[in-house]
């Protein structure tokens, strides 16, 4: 698996798209920091970018890579290699190269700006960690979609739809549900609703840092326990890990049964 990972990773690191992605984040970081000169504002803007764009890029890129490397995958399948190592290797190759672009692209301008001397370093590290998690999750989901759909167009369609659903539509439905049932105690429902969507989950993690003053304004006891203590942080991270593990398991399961 490590060999496959290595080749996929280096293949991607040299691809045009990695540069574009890296360049995009580099530019974003530079513009936010040096034209704006306001670290707190930059972190908030970055958060918005990360929870929306990282999943989108992860899904599109994952699906694209899978379909583009189909023949190469077939070549590998004829080699004495386990299927699970081929797909896991490719998956990790994509996910890690995307994460690298993200971390380096954003990290370099921030380091030059003097991040290590600033107290925003924790907020910023949290951003990068959630960004990496989102990349891992959405690339895995993309691989799942691609593995289940031979048709490229269909695969891309589902991938975009998945992103649209988790990034926007889910929250719309979520909001409607909360308003509709506003006469009932809702704090459990709202927390569970958050856990079931990795984008919401990452958003909550960042809220814990940026908007704790507002979150503590709400009365619910479970809310208080969740946001007021490190409990929320721990649960969110555990859920993020589960969100990575489940799609990866499905990749392994699905790839063992697929015909090429």
């Amino acid at each position: 698996m490590l060999k496959i990972l290595k080749y996929s990773f280096f293949d991607l690191m040299r691809s045009r798209w990695s540069y574009v992605y890296f360049g995009f984040y580099l530019l974003l970081g530079v513009v936010l920091l040096f034209l704006n000169n306001d670290l707190s504002k930059a972190v908030i803007t970055l958060m918005n970018v990360i929870i929306v764009l990282v999943p989108l890029i992860g899904t599109i890129f994952g699906v694209m890579y899978y379909y583009n490397s189909k023949e190469f995958t077939e070549l590998l399948l004829a080699q004495p290699l386990k299927r699970s190592s081929i797909f896991l290797g490719q998956y990790l190759g994509v996910a890690l190269s995307l994460s690298m672009s993200l971390i380096l692209g954003l990290g370099i301008p921030f380091v030059f700006y003097g991040l290590f001397k600033s107290n925003a370093i924790w907020d910023f590290s949290l951003l990068l960690i959630t960004g990496t998690f989102l990349t891992l999750i959405f690339t895995a989901l993309a691989f799942n979609i691609a593995l289940s759909n031979e048709n490229k167009i269909k695969g891309f369609g589902y991938a975009i739809l998945l992103w649209l659903f988790l990034a926007i539509i889910y929250d719309g439905i979520f909001l409607m549900t909360l308003i509709f049932f506003e006469d009932y105690p809702l704090d459990k429902l709202s927390l569970v609703g958050t856990m079931l969507n990795p984008i919401d989950l990452s958003r909550t993690l960042i809220l814990l840092k940026l908007d704790i003053s507002a979150l503590l304004g709400y009365t619910g006891a479970i809310f208080k326990q969740f946001f007021g203590t490190s409990f929320g942080l721990v649960v969110s991270f555990v859920m993020l890990v589960i969100w990575v593990v489940l799609p990866v398991l499905r990749i392994m399961f699905k790839s063992k049964r697929k015909d090429f």
Binding site: F72, L75, A78, Q79, P80, F260
Partner: protein, 235 residues
Amino acid sequence: MVSIENLHKKFGKNEVLKGVDLNIKSGGIFAVLGPNGSGKTTLIKSVLGMVIPNKGTITVQGENIKKNSSYRHKIDYLPQIANFPSNLKVKELIRMIKDLRNHTNDDHNLIQLFKLEPFLDKKLGNLSGGTKQKVNIVLTFMFDSPLIILDEPTTGLDPISLIRLKELIQKEKSKGKTILITSHIMSFVEEVSDEIVFLLEGKIYFKGTISELKTKTNQPDFEHAIASILTDNHA
């Protein structure tokens, strides 16, 4: 060498293989023939483990291939469409495949044979179809495995390379290897193969030498023999 028993495979509702029994003994060149959609590629891919059969067992050199990947050390496979990661250079691809399998030094001879030296530093994405196919051939033949499977090996090759390929196949045969070929070029099949397997509608319609086929169909030449099978069965 390869034995297939009662092999069934469905893709959705489409039943492609309907109980194939086939025994391929060691040594010699076998051509798998059949009209489009008769299941040639499916059969080959089943042997390679790329397609997972619904029913039936396949053994390669006595080893059951189910949930097994190491038996593929004994197989060299030339896929039909050669499409490699476009960012890799030719020599990197060769190095990588060597890295994934066992080490070999045959690649140098093969590169010389197909005159690939000028392309070694080029990216695969920038190569022509024919050159890619040559790279494909190098990748396949550089290992010394007892079973070689070639899916449409002649695609895109110029006449000189075609001659080289034929020589190569004969050379491998002379080492006592088993070679499995699918092709649409009947003259090529007739020239190289010792025995043919004819697939029709998911079953083996005929297995034997070309002369046996000619006798069976009462046709003077190979191409007509094949054509007569098709017309007889579709009329």
